[in-house]
């Protein structure tokens, strides 16, 4: 519990209109989009200036409470789920576009702008901001930078970090700093920019972000390829990559996912096929038609029964939107939906899918598989029930095996969701202690008092990190965890 006097000071910084601590408010900021994790904060603040953020962080250092930044709360690893003794710091009301610089092809935004809104504003004037996470309709740019969000255009256009040129941010100490800017090239010192991108809100709070734009491709087409065998579709993916075609999106969905998506979106997808690929190509008109024909031919050669070419932009948009809703659509099936993002080099998609299926069968679990097949970023999603302790235990074992399999194939345990709370255990398990120590040391340099989003990425170890607990309850809790002995 943060003491009443401290809460009063926090309230004075932001003003009563932007400070909330009613039971209802605490309840609705106790979660993000991550299953199984929730905790109520002590208070919520919606600061109106950089100065206020800075003051809150200074106060956090002197009065020993934590600060958890939150955009729209659509993260999938618990990055914005509250921790002990914390205030949630909202940024979603800072949603303006500050500057569009057409000579440098950059746009400067506030952190709370919705990614999809930015995209549509940019498309109106002929530009593309490519990173396109599944939650683009609601996620914020600030959150995207903090998580280094990926999405369905990763294969051709890369991820968020490829489009961040610089930002202003507040350090955990309360100091304000600008890193990067509009320079295409910039090698002055260590690349701190890339350290902050994907730091999951543990190293700083973004307050202004400069993003890179590219000219909007002239033309784009989408085709769906239906397969009666899942392995055929994975082989088609490798063949497309090998044929030197780079689609803007190359997405995979298995039977369970197709059924759920169809039940939600009513797009006329066949529910009897085993897998489908959604292929989107963009670029100059002639090039697009050529690539589309070539990709279609490859699919056909690998056993695609039917090819459905979208006839209009709205149909293509519908297909893409439906694919982006796949994760939530799977929630129709069972009470708990656990989505992961084990990722492998793209050549290993077929063996990875095979492994996931056999692990699921071994533990008698139900999985829906979909993902960004083109860039190797898969989303094995376990459809389970959190009330069934045995099944949850088996789920955990299965995910451990899936991660091990991904690592054996040269992959990683998370492609785009981050570690947050939900994958700390796996990170610890699958990463060398030297690397873990290096990461912990970095965190300690930025945030010696562990005030900014502590306990994310790796759990704080009370034995050697952070201030000594003030309250007796907390001391006992740490003792129970085996600290100080």
């Amino acid at each position: 519990m943060i003491s009443k006097t401290t809460l009063k000071k926090i309230r004075e910084i932001v003003g009563s209109a932007h400070y909330f601590d009613s039971p209802e408010q605490k309840l609705v900021y106790s979660y993000d989009a991550t299953p199984l994790y929730e905790q109520e904060p002590d208070a919520i603040v919606a600061p109106r200036s950089v100065d206020q953020i800075s003051k809150i962080l200074r106060l956090a250092n002197s009065e020993a409470f934590s600060v958890v930044p939150r955009g729209s709360g659509s993260g999938l690893s618990g990055g914005s789920v509250p921790v002990d003794d914390c205030v949630v710091l909202l940024t979603n009301h800072w949603d303006r576009i500050l500057e569009i610089d057409e000579k440098n092809l950059t746009v400067t935004v506030e952190p709370g702008i919705i990614t999809g809104q930015l995209q549509s504003e940019m498309e109106k004037i002929g530009y593309l901001y490519p990173p396109d996470p599944g939650s683009s309709g609601i996620c914020t740019i600030g959150g995207n930078v903090a998580e280094n969000a990926g999405g369905i255009r990763g294969l051709k256009y890369g991820v968020t970090k490829n489009y961040v040129m610089g930002f202003e941010f507040v350090l955990p100490s309360g100091e304000v700093m600008m890193i990067g800017g509009k320079n295409v090239k910039d090698v002055a010192g260590y690349n701190l920019k890339d350290l902050l991108i994907g730091s999951e809100g543990t190293l700083g709070v973004f307050t202004k972000i400069v993003l890179r734009l590219i000219p909007k491709p002239e033309h784009s087409r989408t085709v769906l390829a239906y397969f009666d065998r899942s392995s055929n579709s994975a082989e088609a993916v490798s063949a497309i990559t090998a044929s030197k075609i780079t689609p803007a999106a190359l997405e995979f969905m298995d039977k369970t996912t197709i059924r759920c998506v169809e039940e939600y979106a009513h797009l006329g997808l066949p529910t009897t096929i085993e897998a489908l690929l959604l292929i989107e190509v963009d670029g100059r008109r002639g090039e697009v038609e050529e690539d589309l024909a070539a990709a279609s031919e490859i699919c056909r050669r690998h056993g695609a029964g039917t090819l459905r070419v979208s006839q209009s932009i709205s149909e293509a948009n519908q297909l893409r939107t439906a694919r982006k809703a796949a994760f939530a659509a799977l929630a129709r099936v069972r009470p708990t939906t656990i989505l992961e993002d084990a990722t492998v080099p793209r050549s290993e998609v077929a063996p990875m899918l095979e492994q996931i299926n056999s692990i699921a069968a071994k533990h008698d679990l139900m999985f829906g598989n979909f993902g960004h097949a083109g860039d190797g970023n898969l989303h094995p999603t376990c459809l389970t029930d959190e009330h069934d302790k045995d099944e949850i235990h088996r789920t955990e074992l299965a995910f451990h095996e899936i991660y091990s399999a991904a690592l054996r194939l040269g992959g990683t345990i998370t492609g785009e969701h981050g570690i947050g709370l939900s994958k700390r255990k796996f990170l610890e398990h699958h990463t060398s202690s030297t690397q873990m120590d290096l990461m912990r040391s970095l965190k300690a340099i930025f945030d010696p008092n562990m005030v900014l989003n502590p306990g994310k990425i790796f759990s704080t170890r009370p034995r050697c990190e952070g201030p000594l607990p003030i309250s007796k309850a907390k001391l006992n809790k740490y003792l129970e965890m085996g600290a100080y002995c």
Partner: protein, 437 residues
């Protein structure tokens, strides 16, 4: 373990509430979240509040109550939800629980009781009320009613809302529609349909009802309009007065000879959406369940029926008066979100040659009317209306079409406030006028 996905209909109510995995995909579609950017005013936040209350009990707090009534119940979140969470049923049952516990302020309860349990209970009362209010709008009326307004204002009655009051027709539609009207001569008769005249539609939109019947007859329908019918109860149910709604529904069910009809037509989206759920309103153990289900099954919104009747007809001619008029369609929430009817009205309009049909941006967003929302939450409602009217102005529409009385009133008000000349018409009225004989 079976690998077959279960259908959501197989879940119990409590399970259904858990279907929400708080992914947040509903947030960008929620008008109240757009107004506040506050999580508690989002569908995800509200579901969390409801779920917490169900699981932990406890009294309804002030904040909880205000949030439950801040919601427009436009159900845009239901359309957006990939997991198929039925937000509307949770909201309705929560409001019913609030009503049952009598926790709203006394003044609110009294006003609601006066309207829902008294005025809306009988045609003459609603008609008198409507007459009184519409008289009050006139210059002469304003003078006479001034003391009354002042009195009303003292008690916090929403007297500033005169612009939202519909005109009172001199005769209700029911007095002008015979019990049985055969299909027009020369039309190829295909269907025998029942027609629900409704409450507000009957009194304030009598013309729309007459147009609907005439149009259906021209398109080959025998129209049966029972004389002893009244309100379907949707107004009450949406406000959480489920028992009253059931009583109203019971009367309506009994006034129709369901088996003799091919379809039962309603021309207010709020009502057609509600009667389609009669089967659920009277649960399986209720003696009226079978009858109610049969009624629901035959119920269609007039837009759906028109789509069916006009499909494939190439002989339609446009009244030259409407040549090249720019028309658009604003989706009533209870049509597009509650009933998932999106393409039908567009297909109907496109089937008429010579019109310039333009999509209205954010046509699926609530205009802020939402039953009595523009009275209970006037300022927020007007913000949403402003957003809507800006889109109408941007596409320079000559005529905005829609199919729900609340939306018509609200849109007319917004356009008048802005001094725009765009006309607002019910789709049935428009077709009646625009289709040359």
């Amino acid at each position: 373990m079976t690998n077959e996905p279960r259908h959501t209909s197989e879940y119990l109510f409590a399970d259904l509430l858990k279907l929400c995995i708080h992914c947040g995909l509903c947030l960008p579609t929620c008008p109240t979240y757009a107004l506040t950017k506050s999580e508690r005013s989002s569908p995800r936040g509200r579901l969390k509040l409801i779920r917490h209350n169900r699981e932990h009990g406890g009294p309804f707090s002030k904040e909880f109550l205000s949030e439950m009534y801040f919601c427009l119940e436009c159900l845009a979140c239901e359309s957006a939800c990939p997991a198929g969470v039925q937000f509307g049923s949770f909201m309705e049952s929560t409001r019913a629980e609030i009503t049952a516990q009598k926790v709203l302020p006394l003044r609110t309860r009294m006003i609601r009781a006066a309207f829902l349990n008294w005025i809306f209970q009988a045609r003459p009362r609603l008609k008198f009320m409507s007459w009184l209010l519409s008289k009050g709008k006139t210059v002469g009326g304003a003078r006479i009613f001034k003391p009354l307004y002042r009195l009303g204002k003292r008690f916090g009655l929403p007297v500033r809302l005169l612009g939202l009051i519909p005109d009172s027709s001199s005769h209700t539609s029911l007095t002008q529609i015979s019990e049985f009207l055969p299909a027009s001569e020369g039309s190829t008769q295909r269907l025998r349909v029942g027609f629900v005249t409704g409450c507000v539609m009957d009194i304030s939109f009598a013309d729309v009802n007459l147009d609907t019947v005439a149009l259906l007859r021209d398109l080959g329908c025998d129209v049966v309009t029972p004389k002893n019918q009244w309100c379907c109860g949707s107004v009450h149910a949406h406000q959480g007065e489920l028992e009253v709604a059931q009583r109203m529904a019971e009367d309506l069910l009994k006034s129709f000879d369901i088996d003799s009809l091919d379809a039962i037509v309603l021309n207010a989206a709020g009502c057609s959406g509600f009667v389609k759920k009669y089967g659920k309103l009277f649960e399986a153990d209720n003696e009226l369940h079978v009858r109610a289900s049969a009624f629901s099954k035959k119920s269609v919104d007039v837009v759906e029926l028109l789509d069916e009747l006009l499909r494939g007809r190439s002989d339609l001619r446009l009244n030259p008066m409407y040549q090249n008029k720019r028309v658009t369609f604003d989706d009533p929430c209870h049509l597009i979100h509650a009933q998932k009817i999106k393409s039908a009205p567009r297909a109907v309009i496109r089937s008429i040659p010579g019109l310039d049909f333009v999509e209205l941006p954010e046509a699926d967003w609530c205009c802020g009317s939402a039953g009595v929302y523009n009275i209970t939450h006037h300022d927020d409602s007007m913000k949403l209306l402003d957003r809507k009217i800006r889109h109408v102005a941007a596409i320079r529409a000559d005529i905005v079409l829609t199919s729900n009385p609340g939306c018509i009133i609200q849109l007319k008000h917004g356009l008048a406030e802005r001094g725009l000349k765009t006309e607002v018409l019910h789709l049935a009225t428009f077709l009646r006028r625009a289709l040359a004989a």
